[in-house]
Symmetry: C2
Subunit: 218 residues, 2 copies
């Protein structure tokens, strides 16, 4: 199972590493972190470097594609080489997946047109501009395209994907291996359960930041 996880400058680390930690445990998994140029990219905070091991051209036929999100997706959604690669590999891939605002990159590549999809709750509505139907679910499976909500949702997405790819018993073994029995200390993980004032503050702050405005504008 060849799994391509896309990296770019400004990626949110957990968007990529959550699915990686699950999918790398699939039987026969061959995970390739792929991007424009081999070498280090820095995550959205600048505090962590992740390594691109392969150029996109070197992974022309992945079985599973994962596109993470982060502040860097604004640039990634305007990167013609990346979008062309997504369009080229998606038809042959068994699953094309995203986490957080990675769905905006899939949308910009045209993959979500006419599909149901999700994204980080702050930016989910931006999907409509690309012909997709935003859905509030944490993980949305539409045919061979699987999208996840924000950041931490990539773990749930990848476990769903692991079950679709290799069966429920394999997915359950992976879940136990990574001891994924979450106990969030608070109930504020989604805008539906959080204090509306808190959600409003986060939404307004994010939308006021030009670096985070979607869809990409000139």
């Amino acid at each position: 199972v060849l799994i391509a996880i896309v990296l770019f400058e400004g990626v949110t680390a957990l968007d990529a590493v959550g699915p990686y930690e699950v999918l790398a445990r699939l039987p026969g998994a061959d995970v390739r972190f792929a991007g424009r140029r081999p070498g280090e990219v820095r995550t959205d905070t600048g505090a962590l470097g992740l390594t691109i091991d392969a150029t996109l051209d070197e992974v022309p036929a992945p079985d599973i594609v994962v596109v993470p999100g982060g502040a860097g997706t604004r640039a990634a959604a305007g990167d013609d080489d990346l979008l062309a690669w997504i369009r080229a590999v998606h038809p042959g891939a068994r699953w094309t997946a995203s986490v957080c605002t990675g769905s905006i990159v899939l949308a910009a590549a045209g993959v979500l047109r006419g599909r149901r999809a999700t994204s980080h709750w702050i930016w989910r509505d931006a999907l409509t501009a690309f012909g997709a139907t935003p859905v509030e679910d944490r993980v949305v499976v539409d045919g061979d395209v699987v999208t996840a909500a924000g950041v931490s949702a990539g773990i749930d997405m990848a476990l769903r994907l692991a079950a679709l790819e290799a069966g429920e018993e394999v997915a359950r073994a992976i879940q136990l291996g990574i001891e994924y029995a979450p106990e969030p200390p608070f109930d504020s993980g989604s805008p539906a359960s959080a204090d509306p004032a808190l959600a409003g503050r986060l939404r307004d702050a994010a939308r006021a930041d030009p670096a985070l405005r979607f869809p990409p504008v000139a």
Copy 2:
């Protein structure tokens, strides 16, 4: 808030990146990924490179220390320089934390002697050899030492730590920012809820692997 996250060859990526994604969002957070030598280390699967930005000597007085786990902790628990650094920085740190088998490294440094602590469920009992009392909780706070269960538990641990460090409102905002409202597709995330036969198979396979044997033996 100076946060040192230790990296080493064979680290489990999510052990480090889960807490990073939470703690980097603390107000005034300054996260330093620290280890023996600046440059890339490869994670336990070999499929991902993470960058060490600072030597341990360059981070002599962190406010928060996080030690992740992974197959590499067997070597890390025998790394005298790392253990000496942990012993040196722990008294001045407000919080010394671990994820997964990172607690074995804290234990080898003597930090867990006489304390309650946890680890990945397969290796939790190994803590007794270092004078610690293994506890089945997902996150264990004993004074200024916070230990987490396996891999994904680092996210829950870091949210607890964020609340202890900066207050519950800050922790709730971080939780909403990373949309942490988990929905595991199955209930097999802990040995208490998983099929006992599955848990037994995973435990036996892990314990049969000499690279994963704890406490470190010559």
